[in-house]
C-alpha cells in the first residue's frame, strides 16, 4: 500500500518537475519574444520619428515655396492678385427671363408671312 503511494508520489513529483521546467522555458521564450518585439517597436518608432520629421520638412511652407517658384512658368501659376477675389454678393443679378409668349407670337406672325419690321420700314419710308 505505502509502496504504491510512494511510487505514485515519485511519478507525480517527476511530472511536476518536468512541467515546472517546461513552464519556465516557455516563459523565458515568451520573455525573449517580448524583448525582441519591444526592440523592434523601439526601432520602428525611431524610423517613424525620422519619417515624421521628413514629412514635416516636406510640408513646411518654406520648403514648398521655392518649388512653386521653380515651376511657376511651366505650370502658368502666379500669386493671386486682389482683383481676382470675388464673392457671391459681387455677382450681378440674373437677367429677367425672356418673354417667351411674345417671342412665340412673333415667330407665328413671321410664319404666317406678316413681318413686323416691314411695317416699321414702310413707316420710315425705306423701300
Amino acid at each position: 500500500m505505502i509502496r504504491s503511494i510512494n511510487i505514485f508520489l515519485i511519478v507525480l513529483s517527476i511530472v511536476m518537475l518536468a512541467s515546472v521546467y517546461a513552464l519556465k522555458f516557455s516563459i523565458e521564450g515568451t520573455a525573449a519574444e517580448r524583448t525582441a518585439l519591444t526592440a523592434r517597436i523601439a526601432d520602428q518608432e525611431g524610423q517613424l520619428s525620422l519619417l515624421k520629421a521628413d514629412w514635416a520638412v516636406l510640408n513646411q511652407p518654406g520648403h514648398i515655396d521655392p518649388i512653386v517658384r521653380r515651376h511657376e512658368a511651366e505650370l502658368e501659376i502666379a500669386q493671386v492678385k486682389q482683383e481676382q477675389f470675388g464673392s457671391f454678393a459681387g455677382l450681378p443679378m440674373r437677367p429677367a427671363k425672356p418673354d417667351s409668349a411674345a417671342m412665340n407670337a412673333l415667330f407665328e406672325a413671321i410664319a404666317q408671312g406678316i413681318d413686323p419690321i416691314d411695317a416699321i420700314l414702310e413707316l420710315e419710308g425705306i423701300e
Binding site: E45, S49, A53, A56, N59, Q60, P61, G62, F85
Partner: protein, 569 residues
C-alpha cells in the same frame, strides 16, 4: 544470579533498540535543522546583498531616463510641426571592456575621422564603465561602426530635437542642448513650466507627450521671414524684423528677426547680431510713437479730432529748436499733424495734454516694464521716470526713449481693438479667455478715431507706398524714421525705420510692426525714409498674408468713408 551476586562489577547498560533509534533520530534532526538554517541564512544573506547593490543607472552623471527623455512636439496653430523629436544613435564606449585601445582608436577613426586621435585614446583607456564617444550620429554611421566589431563600443538611442522649418521660426522656438533641454526661446519656457519635472521623473519618454500648440501660423511666418530676407538684399539693410499680432486675443501670428540662426545647429545662435530684435532689442521708435501721443491726448479729452495746431514755427527749448522734417509751416488740423508727421504739431498736442498726463499714459500702456511674454530673451525698455519739458517734447515723437518692437505692436493692438491692453502670447488663446485679461487703456471712441487716422495716413500720408501694395485690404499705419546716434550725434544717414500698422481697418484684426535697420535706397528714385522700405515691405506682407488669414479684399470706398469720425464728415 551468580553474576548478580558477584555483584558490583561494572554494569553494562544496554539501551533498548527503541531508545537507540530515538537518539539517533534526534541527532539527525539537529543536523537537518542546522543544514536548513545554513541554507536559509545563505539565501537570506544573498538577498540582503542583492538589496544593497545599487545598480548604476547613470550615464556620466545623468540618469538614463533623462538622456532618452523626449520633448513634446511643437505645432503651429494649424497643426503643422515646428519641432519634433527624432531618435538618433549615440556612440559610447565601456573602457574597462576594451581589450586593445590602440586598435579601437585606429578602427573608429576610419569611420569618424573628425575625432582627434589623442583625445580618443585618452577617452578609451582607463577603467571607467561608460564614456560618450560621439553623440547624435546618423543610422548610416551606426551601421559602419557596428561592422567594425570593436568590443566595448556600442550605441544608445537618444532623442534629438529637430526643427523642420530650419531658420524660419528660429527666434520663436529657440533651441535645445545636446541633453534635450531647452536653452532658448519657447523651448526654454516650456522647460521652466513643466517638462523638466516630467523628464526628471522619467515620465517624459516615448511619443506619448501631448503636443504643444503655438499661436504662430507657419504660412504667415514663412511670408514674413521671406520678406525680411528680401529686405536685407533689396535695401542692403544690416537687420530687419517684424511681428504680427491678433489684436483681440494677443496671439502672436508671426515673429521673425534677421539675421537669425538655425536652431538645428545651436552654435549658429552665438554668431553676433542674431539676437531677437523684436523682444530683446530696444530702439528709439521715432514717429510711430506719435500715434501713441495722439491717442493719449484724444483720450484725455484735452484735444479733439477737430482741433487746429500751430505748426508755423519750430518749438524752442532754450538753445534748441525742434522743427518738422516735411515742414508745412502753417496751421494744421489734428489729422494733418498725423498725416504730415509733424513734430511741432505732436509737441503741441502733448503739451495740451500735459507732460505728466502723457507720462502716466505711457505707464498705462506698460511702456516702462517688460512685456509679459513667454520668450526669455527680453529687455527692459528705457523710458525716463519723469519727463522734463524738452524730454516730454522729444518723447512725444519717439525720441529720448527706447522700447522694443513688441511694446509697439502691443500698444498698437490696444489702440485699434477698442482700447483694451492685452499682453501678447505665443500659446493659443481664444477671445473669451483674452477678455478676462483685458485692461482698458482707451475709450472705444478714441480707438475709432485712431483707426481713421491710421487709414488716412495710408490713403494720403506716408503710408501710401504700403497702401499701393496692399490695395483692397484697408490697411493703415504710421511710418517712423529714427536717426541713429553715431558718436553722440543723431546721424541722418544711419536710420532705423519702422512701420506700425493694422488691417483691415474697417474691422481691424491684426497689428503689425516691421523694422528695417540702416536701409539704403533701393534705386536712385527712392529714398531711405520708412515709407520706402518698412512701408512697402508691410504692404507686400499684407498682400500675401491677408488671404491666408481670411481677409478678403474689398475696393468699396464706402468702407473708408464709414470709419471717418462723425465730427469730420
Amino acid at each position: 544470579m551468580a553474576a548478580l551476586a558477584e555483584g558490583h562489577a561494572p554494569t553494562i547498560a544496554l539501551d533498548g533498540a527503541r531508545k537507540q533509534r530515538g537518539s539517533l533520530t534526534q541527532a539527525r534532526i539537529r543536523w537537518m535543522i542546522l543544514g536548513v538554517l545554513i541554507g536559509f541564512a545563505l539565501v537570506g544573506g544573498r538577498l540582503v546583498q542583492l538589496g544593497m547593490v545599487e545598480t548604476d543607472q547613470t550615464i556620466e552623471g545623468q540618469t538614463r531616463d533623462a538622456i532618452q527623455a523626449s520633448r513634446p512636439p511643437i505645432l503651429d496653430r494649424n497643426g503643422l510641426e515646428m519641432a519634433v523629436d527624432i531618435r538618433v544613435p549615440s556612440l559610447y564606449a565601456e573602457p574597462r571592456r576594451i581589450i586593445d585601445v590602440e586598435e579601437a582608436v585606429q578602427k573608429l577613426r576610419t569611420v569618424l575621422p573628425d575625432l582627434s586621435e589623442e583625445w580618443l585614446r585618452n577617452r578609451l583607456s582607463g577603467d571607467r564603465g561608460f564614456v560618450w564617444v560621439q553623440r547624435e550620429l546618423t543610422p548610416a554611421i551606426q551601421d559602419q561602426v557596428m561592422r567594425l566589431g570593436i568590443p566595448g563600443i556600442d550605441f544608445i538611442t537618444e532623442s534629438k530635437r529637430f526643427y523642420p522649418a530650419m531658420n524660419e521660426a528660429a527666434h520663436i522656438l529657440g533651441s535645445t542642448n545636446v541633453d534635450n533641454q531647452g536653452i532658448a526661446g519657447i523651448e526654454r519656457h516650456m522647460d521652466s513650466e513643466s517638462i523638466a519635472l516630467l523628464q526628471e521623473l522619467g515620465l517624459a519618454r516615448g511619443n506619448a507627450l501631448t503636443p504643444v500648440e503655438l499661436s504662430v501660423d507657419m504660412r504667415v511666418q514663412h511670408v514674413l521671414h521671406d520678406q525680411l530676407m528680401d529686405a536685407m538684399t533689396r535695401y542692403q539693410a544690416i537687420a530687419a524684423a517684424g511681428v504680427m499680432m491678433d489684436i483681440y486675443t494677443g496671439e502672436i501670428i508671426a515673429l521673425a528677426s534677421v539675421p537669425d540662426f538655425n536652431p538645428n545647429e545651436p552654435a549658429t545662435a552665438l554668431v553676433k547680431d542674431t539676437f531677437n530684435r523684436i523682444t530683446s532689442g530696444i530702439f528709439e521708435p521715432g514717429s510711430i510713437f506719435k500715434t501713441i501721443t495722439i491717442a493719449g491726448a484724444l483720450d484725455s479729452g484735452a484735444v479733439r479730432v477737430t482741433d487746429q495746431f500751430d505748426a508755423r514755427y519750430g518749438v524752442r527749448f532754450g538753445r534748441y529748436t525742434i522743427s518738422d522734417f516735411h515742414g508745412k509751416n502753417r496751421i494744421l488740423s489734428l489729422p494733418e499733424v498725423y498725416k504730415y508727421s509733424s513734430n511741432i504739431g505732436t509737441i503741441r498736442i502733448m503739451q495740451a495734454m500735459g507732460k505728466d498726463n502723457f507720462r502716466d499714459f505711457l505707464s498705462r500702456l506698460k511702456f516702462d516694464e517688460r512685456v509679459a511674454f513667454e520668450l526669455p530673451e527680453m529687455r527692459v525698455p528705457t523710458v525716463p521716470k519723469t519727463l522734463s519739458e524738452v524730454g516730454a517734447a522729444t518723447a512725444s515723437f519717439g525720441h529720448g526713449l527706447s522700447v522694443s518692437p513688441l511694446h509697439m505692436v502691443t500698444a498698437y493692438a490696444a489702440l485699434v481693438n477698442g482700447g483694451n491692453y492685452i499682453a501678447p502670447t505665443l500659446y493659443k488663446r481664444d477671445v473669451a479667455e483674452a477678455e478676462t485679461l483685458y485692461e482698458r487703456v482707451l475709450s472705444p471712441q478714441t480707438s475709432d478715431v485712431m483707426r481713421y487716422l491710421m487709414r488716412l495716413n495710408a490713403l494720403e500720408g506716408s503710408g501710401s507706398q504700403m497702401n499701393r501694395a496692399a490695395q483692397g485690404y484697408r490697411a493703415g499705419g504710421k511710418t517712423g524714421t529714427a536717426e541713429k546716434v553715431v558718436d553722440g550725434r543723431y546721424s541722418s544717414s544711419k536710420v532705423t525705420n519702422f512701420f506700425a500698422s493694422a488691417f483691415p481697418l474697417d474691422n481691424p484684426r491684426y497689428a503689425i510692426v516691421v523694422m528695417v535697420d540702416e536701409p539704403k535706397a533701393e534705386n536712385p528714385q527712392s529714398g531711405t525714409t520708412a515709407g520706402w522700405n518698412a512701408g512697402t515691405l508691410t504692404g507686400r506682407l499684407i498682400q500675401r498674408v491677408a488671404p491666408m488669414l481670411g481677409v478678403a479684399p474689398d475696393f468699396n470706398e464706402a468702407l473708408d468713408r464709414q470709419i471717418v469720425p462723425p465730427a469730420l464728415r
